[in-house]
Symmetry: C2
Subunit: 314 residues, 2 copies
């Protein structure tokens, strides 16, 4: 099943050609979630040939312009393109006010239902779930109320192998027990171990997005063990004082969070426009957490389970 | 003296790659005016290598997203880049509310003075003038309150030729009269004609911007005789009913306005995303008004006086 992060923009506050402000589409099992929506996101969606009308959930981390200024335009474009399916927007409560005002001054009317769900900057929340995925928000520490977002696959039930059903004449209650990962022990003492009777189930994967935030260890509790973490790294360690002052992180701090949270892989983004090249940031992060990558506009990242990373590494 | 229009975007409501929403920079005598500011304008300014901090006047025609959604981001970028010089914004009164709300939710503070000047959708206004140029707004007819904008060079005083001063021993009062374009007649009957004594002065040029508007003949009074007119042409004549319904114009209607207003040249923009090619629009406009061009993103147009167009054509 697909679980991919498509980076549309990973620049910081100053957009530059080729360095869009923050936006990324996460495709989990063909459900598309947009995380942040900086100015120009609708153009980036077209450039990357993403079927934008299939985005039903938009999550906004906070109300600094580089994370949400593309949203009013995207909503308006959805409307112009004749959208009828509902759109869910999750973000700080005042985002609703902003969207309403834009709608009001343009004297427009939306022809599709827009459901707004305020996020809490105080505690983790489950924002949405269905049979296969769960969307959560969690607090981070920035200058204004900000959250990160987390997408988890739900653990799948294993399927029982057909030849085992036949060979042992399994009855429905036994099959259900195996699917619950319980061994079946019959009255005559026969043991049917689920681990052998069932197809192996791929591990449930998870992805966390944390931009913008200063170094904050509490964060590790919310994202513990995720397979992929996107964490901001606005500065290098040489600008640590500035990072602190502006409630941003250094690359090394991001790596330390990844390390302490025991995540699978780390991808760094939201690098300040002052950096032309990212070598030094990557180097300082890898010294702490080797499984680190730099984000780039247009990059596609597959979310791979930690187990699989381990196997690949072995 | 420079008088140029640099098109940053001339697309319609649906932005596409390579077809930015409306924005253009008019450079008159090295003063830069931004007319409209659709989403992505700050990126377009960088791509076109325009010194954006030199823009002191921003004019917003109306509050449909494709004409102003780039403004909050541009204002924020000015601030991040350390702007201190004042910025003047002209537009519908509720634009102030929008800018204030964005500022407020981001808990930001501007380090430069921002002066907001509401425009009137009811009557023409002079918004700004200095020794050499004048900026005006004028009503157009769209679904919501909308204005166009007009930039005029002021007529320059002619300079008196040095050899005439010497040959006739011109006294200051005589020189001033000649500069006022009056012939000097002395007590002895000698006539000194200003047309010969003075250097010829290039005609004062003017540029009008009208997007978005339906066909509205009253408009011709406000833009009479301008040297260059940018007029929207969202549709071709085959979509006339739709143009009427949506308060937009067809290419032929735009040409008719240009013709009836006696302008020098016409440039068409704001073409609907449904048109891939513009040949038919251009053809139908030129049948009514031959001096018609199509706008394109990145295009630079020199504002040339009607007189000069006449000479070139001769």
């Amino acid at each position: 099943m697909r679980f991919e992060v498509h980076i549309l923009g990973c620049g910081a506050a100053l957009p530059l050609p080729g360095r869009n402000p923050t936006a990324q589409v996460v495709n989990v099992h063909e459900k598309q979630f947009l995380f942040d929506c900086g100015e120009g996101t609708q153009i980036a969606l077209r450039k990357e040939r993403i079927r934008m009308m299939r985005i039903d959930h938009i999550c906004i981390s906070h109300l600094h312009g580089d994370h949400y200024l593309g949203l009013p335009g995207l909503v308006s474009t959805f409307n112009l393109l004749g959208r009828t399916r509902p759109l869910h927007i999750y973000g700080p409560d005042r985002l609703k006010e902003v969207l309403d005002l834009h709608q009001e001054v343009g004297e427009g009317r939306l022809d599709f239902p827009l459901h707004f769900h305020p996020t809490s900057p105080e505690e983790p929340q489950v924002l949405f779930e269905d049979g296969s995925v769960q969307l959560e928000s969690f607090p981070v520490k920035h200058r204004i109320p900000t959250t990160g977002f987390l997408l988890r696959e739900k653990e799948r039930e294993p399927g029982v192998k057909r030849d085992w059903v036949r060979r042992h004449d399994l009855v429905p209650s036994e099959i259900l027990a195996l699917k619950r990962k319980e061994d079946v022990v019959r009255a005559d003492g026969t043991r049917i171990p689920f681990a052998e009777a069932c197809h192996p189930v791929p591990a449930a994967r998870s992805y966390a997005f944390a931009a913008d935030t200063r170094y904050w260890e509490v964060l590790t509790e919310f994202i513990r063990g995720v397979d992929l973490l996107y964490h901001e790294a606005t500065f290098g360690e040489e600008m640590k004082a500035r990072a602190e002052k502006t409630f941003h992180s250094t690359a090394r701090q991001a790596a330390r969070i990844a390390d302490r949270a025991g995540v699978g892989r780390l991808v760094l983004g939201h690098v300040s426009a002052r950096y032309d090249r990212f070598d030094s940031l990557l180097e300082e992060a890898r010294a702490v957490f080797p499984e680190t990558m730099m984000a780039e506009d247009g990059m596609m990242l597959e979310v791979v389970s930690c187990e699989e990373i381990g196997e690949r590494g072995a």
